[in-house]
């Protein structure tokens, strides 16, 4: 424990800015993964235990696209589009067979794919750590805000995630498709009776969730190292986010992700050995005091 370091950081604006931005990018990446998880749970009523694999694939797709084309924008597109297609296939071919089945069965199918996907990545890209490298456009002088160092790429990352959050939030509450999705979450039988193809909606929601996780992976690729199995720790953390925020709530996912990001970045100063433990502790406190999560509705 190193409370002096934490207190020292809290009293210096430079350190405060640096730690807050690093907490924000952790939080924003987590949000993108977690919101997909919560969306899939809200509509399909299943927990996608293999969601971390989409994050992993997003990062690897982006790295390969970047190496082939040298374009950062294309790399982001490849990460997001590739995982969207993967999500659609995964849902239509495999997950659609276990709707309404035991939770155990759903977990098992996803567990099988966690094993398979990790090995597929090992087979294609090799088991060693990979790095995409920072694109040339962002290799510029970092910004100084109140004495704290903020790399411009961090601002882009936070911006993209924020835009995704806003588009998603407005799209779900205002657009026609958003309304259909929410209706399908509420009463799929009625939606289907009204002549809407619910299978397509389920596939679409899964593809959307996969795409968001893939986008998070692509955004993370320049700043994190890539390795098979990188998705699993992200999965656990984003599940903690959805538990804290409340399953099925987008605002909850955002708040939970930001809280967790800040806990991680400041916790690493005060409790360097117990940073992960802090997250679990926080989750336990939320669960014990409000089992449905901060923004969760009472379970029916």
């Amino acid at each position: 424990m190193d409370l002096d370091a934490l207190a020292g950081c809290l009293s210096s604006s430079a350190c405060l800015v640096t730690q807050t931005t690093s907490g924000l990018i952790i939080g924003m990446l987590l949000f993108l993964v977690a919101v997909g998880l919560t969306l899939i749970f809200g509509v399909l009523k299943i927990v996608n235990f293999s969601h971390g694999a989409f994050y992993m694939f997003g990062a690897y797709f982006a790295m390969t696209a970047y190496q082939l084309t040298g374009s950062f924008a294309l790399a982001m597109f490849a990460g997001a589009a590739g995982t969207a297609v993967l999500g659609l296939i995964f849902e239509r071919v495999f997950m659609s067979r276990v709707y309404g089945a035991d939770v155990l069965m759903q977990l098992l199918v996803c567990y099988a794919f966690v094993l398979i996907f990790d090995d597929v990545v090992r087979l294609i890209w090799g088991p060693e750590f990979k790095s995409m490298g920072m694109p040339a456009a962002f290799q510029v002088m970092p910004l100084f805000i109140a004495g704290g160092v903020v790399p411009p790429y961090y601002l882009l990352l936070i911006g993209v995630a924020l835009v995704a959050a806003i588009v998603l939030g407005i799209g779900l509450s205002r657009s026609r498709i958003g309304k259909v999705i929410r209706a399908a979450a509420h009463n799929p039988g009625m939606v289907s009776a009204l002549g809407i193809n619910t299978g397509l909606i389920y596939g679409g929601v899964f593809a959307l969730g996969g795409m968001l996780a893939g986008l998070a992976g692509a955004l993370a690729a320049p700043v994190r190292s890539l390795t098979p199995g990188m998705g699993f720790s992200v999965l656990i953390e984003s599940f903690i986010v959805t538990v804290i925020g409340g399953m099925g709530s987008i605002v909850g996912a955002l708040v939970g992700a930001l809280l967790l990001g800040l806990i991680r970045s400041f916790g690493s100063l005060g409790f360097p050995l117990f940073t992960e433990g802090l997250m679990y502790l926080f989750m336990v406190i939320v669960l014990v005091s409000k089992p449905t999560g901060l923004f969760g509705k009472e379970a029916a």
């Binding site: 927990v47 069965m105 098992l108 597929v120 903690i240 992960e276 089992p291």
Partner: protein, 339 residues
Amino acid sequence: MTELEAGRTRTLVPVRGDAGLQRYRDVLIALVAFAVLASLPLFTGSKALLDLVIRCSAYGLFATSLNLLVGYTGLTSFGHGMFFGLGAYSFGLIMQKLGVPIPVAFVATLAITAVVAAIIGAICVRLKEIYFAFVTLAFQMLIHSTILSWASFTGGDQGLRGGIARPRFLGIDLSNHVHLYIASCALLILGLLAMRQIAQSPFGYTLRMIRDNAARASFLGIDVWRAKLTVFVLAALFASMGGMVMALFVSGAYPEFAYWTISGEGIFINMLGGVSTFLGPMVGTVLLLLLNDTVTRFTEYHGIVLGVVILFFALGLRKGLLDFVAEWFAHRRDAGEGR
């Protein structure tokens, strides 16, 4: 619950008169099984075979205890492996730091496991289905990350090194391979017998009722939370026993013992063997270990092979091996009675 399902639970009613008889039968089967296993070293000198049986004992205890939660109570724990790791680490640490006799360390480890499981269980068993699965998983990761980060005490990612001393006690020398083998078999058989007694006891039938309809059980005056917590702690004790067998076998403890994949394998073992019969997980353990050993010999990408096998069972068969056998017997019996 639909009427159809209500009809199916009819077979759950325990037949009081046969209970004593069945207990004698179970003990007899256990004695025979132990005699067969214990006489194995007389016929074969194969160390690999004995090693396989020891590993089956460790994983079998773990997987069967998980079935108490998954199959009997309907609690899908995805973090049960934490108690396997906890057992291995506590036992190894007590032996290394305190140098007490093995039975003392054994009992002390069970006590530690009981306390930890009671605390974690008290938080978890309130939660339903998927929340329960993931919160147990989160606790598993908490224990795993504690083991990794507390390197001065647990050895970090290197694991507990330097071996575990195995002093003689009561004429048993666990550093002797055959003695270790027989001790593992004895622990396995005793553990299975104890779990069988739990499953067949009135408490075991209470658990089945909670699984089938928790609300009804609650109306009948059963404290559901307490029953769930009790079975959570009991299952943890047997998982911890499995972890101790493993620690004795490898003479150490590694962070992988507490990693989530152990829990995933446990769930898969249960699926493979089937959760509707008591011995299903044991069959699943033998199958998985044989499968693992075979696959790793041919390819380094055993995740793909294992994943495809899991998919085959989960999507294709939708039940375990012993479930099929049990259904086949039930079918034959029904046919024999002219139904």
